[in-house]
Symmetry: C3
Subunit: 143 residues, 3 copies
């Protein structure tokens, strides 16, 4: 299978908390990084998500917010992955920014050109990828 989502992160389910409609799934990405995903309870059952299950977490680049500098704000987004900008490609309206995490994983974000300028995004700059838990798609290998 090939998939258009730029971000395909491999990990292992560490915890599942089920609600009435949705479930919150915690994924250990290794190297100390954690990702939280909100999926429907039906998906959770179909995919048999449980602690120890290997999963891939898919996140489209336009769903990633990029943050730089001292954080004066605490954000509701569960996923805030700190790393270093490794690439910036600018288009007419948008730009793609790649952040490399300490463990080597890469997160691509599509942001506006203005954001690249305002945040001074360039290779070597420290930056954090912010991802809402409800924007993470989980996948498991077919049995």
């Amino acid at each position: 299978m090939k998939i258009s989502a730029r971000n395909v992160l491999r990990g292992t389910v560490s915890a599942v908390k089920a609600g009435a409609v949705n479930a919150e799934v915690h994924v250990d990405l290794g190297a100390g990084d954690q990702l939280t995903a909100i999926v429907t309870l039906a998906s959770c059952t179909d995919l048999e998500l449980a602690p120890g299950q290997p999963v891939v977490a898919l996140v489209k680049a336009p769903w990633v917010i990029v943050m730089t500098g001292d954080s004066e704000l605490k954000l509701s987004a569960r996923n805030q992955l700190a790393g270093t900008v490794s690439a910036v490609e600018t288009g007419a309206v948008n730009a793609e920014v790649v952040i490399t995490l300490p463990g080597g994983a890469q997160i691509a974000a599509i942001v506006t050109k203005e954001a690249v300028k305002e945040l001074g995004l360039a290779p070597g700059v420290a930056a954090t990828a912010v991802i809402k838990a409800s924007h993470v798609v989980l996948g498991v290998p077919k049995a």
Copy 2:
């Protein structure tokens, strides 16, 4: 009303499952296609969503993931609509890919240029549009 969402799919509510904050709504798109949406319970009540209610499902093109080839993964995204690529328009950073479903409905996705290359997306190629249930906006005609 005109709306910027590229994907406006007509259907009929087939089931509603209410939680404490959200509700899961199943929509029959006809021709065998089903769509699942997560909306707030307040919306569900306001729009009087119930089986048999005609609705439109709105999905922005950047919220659609495109998948090709044999699927070795089961995904948590509730909506996986299989069809054929009917158009690809490439920009500087992004590209718009249109997938036509067997019933004739079209789904537009914005993906990165790299994804178009990696997945070999071109007219005639089989592809699946993957849409998270929490990314679907529902609309009903005003009384």
Copy 3:
């Protein structure tokens, strides 16, 4: 802190409704505008979200749907902010549209070029920014 989200709206929490996994948070933006956000219950607790708490609401431009003309549809999206188009910048595939609200706040949306043409989006045109509650990230000042 600098953040790539184009839309950073300041307001005050007016109500919180907790579910099993998620919570619905109402934010008063002033000038009569209200915003609803769905965040995880864990975030709600971490950020100590309660009525009276000042917050910022972050929304990425690709998550905003633009609507024009008489609305024949009621939408499930909780947030429908009516204003006037103040700027349009067009790229190869996408365009950025800025809507200024009556109270002066600005909402930027990334839409396709086709949508700009079909909706006749240009400075001075009345338009509504539609935002799903699950697409809003909340932030609070660090103590």
